[in-house]
């Protein structure tokens, strides 16, 4: 049993509270990613699970047992640190053997396990080197090996990939996924990189300012963000938000009055909608979709473009604000011509004044 239960947990440093009474269940055998901007408290939460930080209030249970007062090792967790925390004066072999030495395992058993782990991580050639003679990716793997070798119930990762270059990061991501599947381990992974979160996680926990904003599978948080913060944080480039002045319902659906007074017709939307969001990848040029907006020549202006080769993001300035959209590379937007954009109303996200997501009545 290695389910982690977090009940009403708060953390104070002196007088400042950085985590405000969080409840969370981390399921056994899953890879859970704690995601959020820097300073949101995700690392602190991880360190509280690890036992490196005291819990100011609340209870953390691992496998049903309260661990608040247990030392890290008694919790059965292993951790991979952002800077790997390899012991600089010890060889790879001794680094990996260290946890087993602490556990007073017999020497033969230690040697056997080091060899097995080294094989799994393809570290056999490096066993007698010092950390300073390793590349970033190799150090990362040694750190993983040192965490794995104790066969912990729970793996904790504190931004372990952020010191690697882009290519290596992708490879290590796959590696971690593979290990997770093979070991069926419970893993908690802290990152501020949403791509890492989306590709690795079974479940994403999005945090902001010491509170949990949403817990869900990657697709859930992408498709049904719980609030404007999550909607804007997940997805790159970020979702477009358009302020709504008024929603008028009629037989065909809702008619929205936007910030600049123009109107937009969409399917039935909740009456208290204060803003709507639409992802750049869901906007089309032309009148292909059911909801549409048209702009006369001179009403729209291009403020930039990012070309990715097969597609490009266009940044437009429109009467009701700025808008980002994904367009085919060959698409030309001419400021001297009228412009029409359209999208599927089902792709619209509705948010209330306080940023909360509003569910549309089932159509």
């Amino acid at each position: 049993m290695s389910e982690v239960l977090i009940e009403g947990v708060s953390k104070r440093f002196g007088r400042t509270e950085v985590i405000h009474g969080i409840d969370l269940r981390i399921k056994e055998g899953e890879l859970t990613v704690l995601l959020g901007p820097s300073g949101c408290g995700k690392s602190t939460l991880l360190r509280m699970i690890a036992g490196l930080e005291d819990i100011s209030e609340g209870v953390i249970r691992i496998g049903g047992e309260e661990v608040n007062d247990l030392e890290p090792v008694e919790r059965g967790c292993a951790m991979v640190f952002q800077n790997y925390a390899l012991y600089p004066h010890q060889t790879v072999r001794r680094n990996m053997a260290f946890p087993l030495k602490m556990a007073r395992l017999p020497r033969a058993e230690i040697a056997r396990r080091v060899a097995a782990t080294a094989k799994l991580l393809q570290l056999e050639e490096l066993l007698d080197r010092l950390p300073r003679d390793l590349s970033g990716g190799q150090r990362q793997r040694v750190a993983m090996g040192r965490a794995m070798i104790r066969e912990p119930k729970i793996f904790l990762f504190d931004e372990p990939l952020s010191n690697l270059d882009a290519e290596l990061r992708v490879r290590m991501r796959l590696e971690i996924s593979r290990l997770q599947r093979e070991l069926l381990a419970t893993m908690v992974f802290v990152t501020h990189d949403q791509v890492e979160a989306m590709t690795l996680a079974h479940r994403i926990v999005i945090m902001r300012a010491g509170l949990i904003e949403q817990v869900g599978t990657p697709l859930e948080v992408y498709r049904r963000p719980a609030n404007r913060f999550v909607a804007g944080f997940i997805g790159s480039p970020a979702m477009n938000f358009i302020d709504v002045r008024e929603v008028r319902a009629d037989a065909t659906g809702s008619q929205l009055t936007l910030g600049d007074g123009s109107t937009l017709v969409a399917g039935a939307l909740p009456a208290e909608t204060a803003s709507v969001g639409i992802r750049p990848e869901h906007i089309r040029i032309g009148l292909a979709e059911r909801a549409s907006l048209s702009f006369a020549a001179g009403q729209h202006r291009s403020i930039g473009a990012e070309h990715l080769g097969d597609r490009s993001y266009r940044y437009l300035s429109l009467p009701f604000g700025e808008l980002t959209m994904l367009a085919p590379e060959e698409q030309v937007i001419d400021e001297t011509e009228p412009l029409a954009i359209s999208f599927d109303p089902a792709r619209l996200h509705c948010f209330a004044h306080d940023g909360r997501r509003l569910e549309r009545a089932a159509a």
Partner: protein, 319 residues
């Protein structure tokens, strides 16, 4: 009831993780801290009340409170002259010594900073070497070099035709000139290292940009180097001040405990008051209480000055 419950709370706190961590910290910091309090802070606390008594020495059985008599004794005959002379010698020495810090340490550091030659290491090794000599050794070297009739330097000068006994280490002026020179010679390497450390910490961009702006060498020293090595300057100042007023070993070497009146600086005076007829000779001239009184009178203001400078240093650290 209330007492036992707080004790219970305390025990459980010690068992909590924060409590255990405190105990671990204490286990590691404790041994040295215990020693430090016992042989350094406690003596300081013990010393304080004694200044208001007539305690002769530590074996004195008949001790009475005398208020500020010990301070008064310093300002009256027979001690006032010796105290005044010692204070004057010490203060003068501190001043000259401070100048020597710059003449030796700073100038050498500037030279070493500019030097690119491979001889740098050798020079550093040699310049730092006198730092290994004990204070007594410095005193004896001064006797060896500057004594009248037998001093090597005097003999050399005579040989070269500069006349007999150009310097006399045991004369008032002789002590005051030769002591700072030899002390500066001894500490040159140390002071140079402190200044050099400061110079090396200056970001080279600021020096290069000053060069681009057309600053000559002296301008660079005054406007770029010195403002950025203020922390080094303060460290050296504190060291120099404390060492100057506390100078003792060198004076023992000069015979301060065995009859050389011109080597009676404050620390020797204090030693004579408190210990006097020790193994090295000399006569006990006062009481233990008077000795501690003088130390406090002289050194407490110094402690405050040094503490202030130390704080200033923390504030002025740019890097």
């Amino acid at each position: 009831m209330a007492g036992s419950s707080t004790r219970g709370a305390k025990r459980s706190w010690l068992r909590s993780r924060a409590g255990r961590r405190f105990l671990v910290d204490l286990a590691y910091a404790g041994p040295q801290l215990f020693l430090y309090v016992l042989v350094q802070l406690l003596p300081f606390v013990i010393a304080l009340p004694i200044i208001f008594t007539d305690r002769l020495d530590f074996l004195d059985q008949d001790v009475a409170w005398v208020g500020l008599d010990n301070v008064r004794a310093m300002l009256q005959p027979p001690l006032v002259d010796r105290f005044g002379d010692a204070l004057q010698r010490t203060a003068l020495f501190a001043l000259v010594n401070y100048v020597m810090v710059y003449l030796f340490g700073f100038v050498l550091a500037l030279a070493m900073f500019e030097l690119t030659s491979r001889l740098k290491g050798l020079f550093f090794t040699i310049i730092y070497m006198p730092w290994m000599i004990s204070g007594v050794g410095i005193g004896l070297l001064m006797i060896m070099l500057f004594s009248s009739d037998t001093g090597s330097l005097n003999l050399l000068l005579k040989e070269l035709g500069f006349g007999r006994n150009v310097v006399d280490v045991k004369s008032e002026a002789g002590t005051l000139i030769t002591l700072p020179i030899m002390y500066g010679w001894k500490t040159a390497g140390f002071n140079m290292a402190v200044f050099l450390g400061g110079l090396l910490a200056i970001p080279t961009e600021t020096i290069e940009s000053a060069r681009m702006d057309g600053a000559r060498y002296l301008d660079r020293v005054i406007h770029i180097y010195i403002p950025q090595i203020v922390p080094s300057i303060i460290i050296v100042t504190i060291f120099s001040l404390i060492n100057s007023f506390g100078i003792f070993d060198e004076l023992v070497g000069l015979g301060g405990l065995s009859g050389n009146a011109n080597a009676e600086f404050l620390s020797v005076f204090v030693y004579q008051l408190g210990f006097g007829a020790g193994a090295t000779g000399g006569a006990k001239i006062g009481t233990l209480a008077q000795a501690i009184t003088v130390s406090l009178l002289v050194f407490l203001p110094l402690v405050l000055v040094a503490f202030g400078l130390n704080r200033l240093q923390k504030r002025l650290q740019y890097h």
